[in-house]
Symmetry: C2
Subunit: 274 residues, 2 copies
Amino acid sequence: MLIKLATNCGFCFGVKRAIRLAENNPNSVTLGELIHNSKETDRLKNRFAVSIARSIDEIESGKKVIIRTHGIEKKVRERLGEVTNDVIDATCPFVTKPQRIAEQMNQEGYQVVIFGDKTHPEVKGVLSYAGKDAIVVAAADELRRSGLKDRVALISQTTKSIEKFASLAEDLIKRCKETRIYNTICNATFDNQEAARALAKEADVMLIVGGKNSSNTKQLLSIVKEDCSDSYLVEGKDELDRAWFEGKKLCGISAGASTPHWIIEEVKNSLLEF
Amino acid sequence: MLIKLATNCGFCFGVKRAIRLAENNPNSVTLGELIHNSKETDRLKNRFAVSIARSIDEIESGKKVIIRTHGIEKKVRERLGEVTNDVIDATCPFVTKPQRIAEQMNQEGYQVVIFGDKTHPEVKGVLSYAGKDAIVVAAADELRRSGLKDRVALISQTTKSIEKFASLAEDLIKRCKETRIYNTICNATFDNQEAARALAKEADVMLIVGGKNSSNTKQLLSIVKEDCSDSYLVEGKDELDRAWFEGKKLCGISAGASTPHWIIEEVKNSLLEF
């Protein structure tokens, strides 16, 4: 069986930046998981003593705090200032952007519509800047049930599929007099999705390596399944099942933006042993 | 054979207003056809001596001039001021709106994309306000061949189909960082299209009454043909062909926004005689 890695996959700019910030600030604490990959956050804890606080209440006063790549809610950012002045912002710049757009559009009187998962920390953060009329929709049918103003601004969670985003926009355009559409899907997401899609067309089995709570990783799985039904999401080599690869000719591998290279390598090496 | 008129069809607000202005200003001249219906412009000429000038050069100095419903180009408007001060503006307010939007978006640094027919007077008028980067596209494949800036504003000719407009927007969203979409399709167009579509689903023959150079009339024909293949565009009763109605049970009638009621009635009465 041949093994082929997608031309674009793994760590994106924002994740690399966040990890560098964490490595350069040992003994700090991240508010929530820095990135959605528990193997990597375990490594940061073991090697750099960078621990995770689940809420502000767990943070001791004056401690150095790193804001996660996904950003945090406006009111949490304000409360954080009451606990410590030593804050390092590892929010991905591609996430800061939709936060700023949401805030500005709300100020200009547009109703903000966010395409995303309302339980995801990135979306919660962006929503907190979007004003009281803002809504989060995960799919076109949710949008159809929502009341809309005449002037609407649409933004996307950075890790969503461009196809679904554009098709949601199509519904909005028909219902609103003015629609401002910000394509805030990040380039890394877009490039990884395109590369995974291309690889899935030639492979007869696909592996997506990444955190099961990572939005962009789950998105990759859903995309490759369209062209390759035998596709699996694994967090690491221990989850591989020999039976998946029996009789297969080409195994394609892609990985989420929060998946470190060493995990991808481990998975690849285990496959070579099969 | 039953005959049924679409619940919405014929003269729209802007056309009614323009005709009232022409009737109230006998002996004036319109720059181009006031509306796209030669039977109605003939009536205005015969009863109110309102004639048509094909260009500014045909207008005698100081003459009272009516600007057509479709509006005119910015530079033509300026030149007109050199010939006469007696100008009555019958531009439909729904056309003035995209002109203003095009001008403002260009000033704010957006590339303006107009969905429409580049030979149509309304589109020529709007384009003249849209700046040097502006483009006119009639279909999605034309858009795909065009270079685009990062920030684009999309507007529509008032008489286009909302479905095609939204699908064009979908392409833009994928290619641009920011897309401002103004749904400038007028309500009358939208209502007429919906009513024609509904009627075409139950009729076994459809007649669209209107000018063959009228954009919204041609659009209606294209829409009803999707559900009723035996659909015909006629300018008046003289074009009816008895063979079209042989063995038919229900004839649906719709009419363009520039089609006067008296022409629709004539067509209907001729059908009753068959």
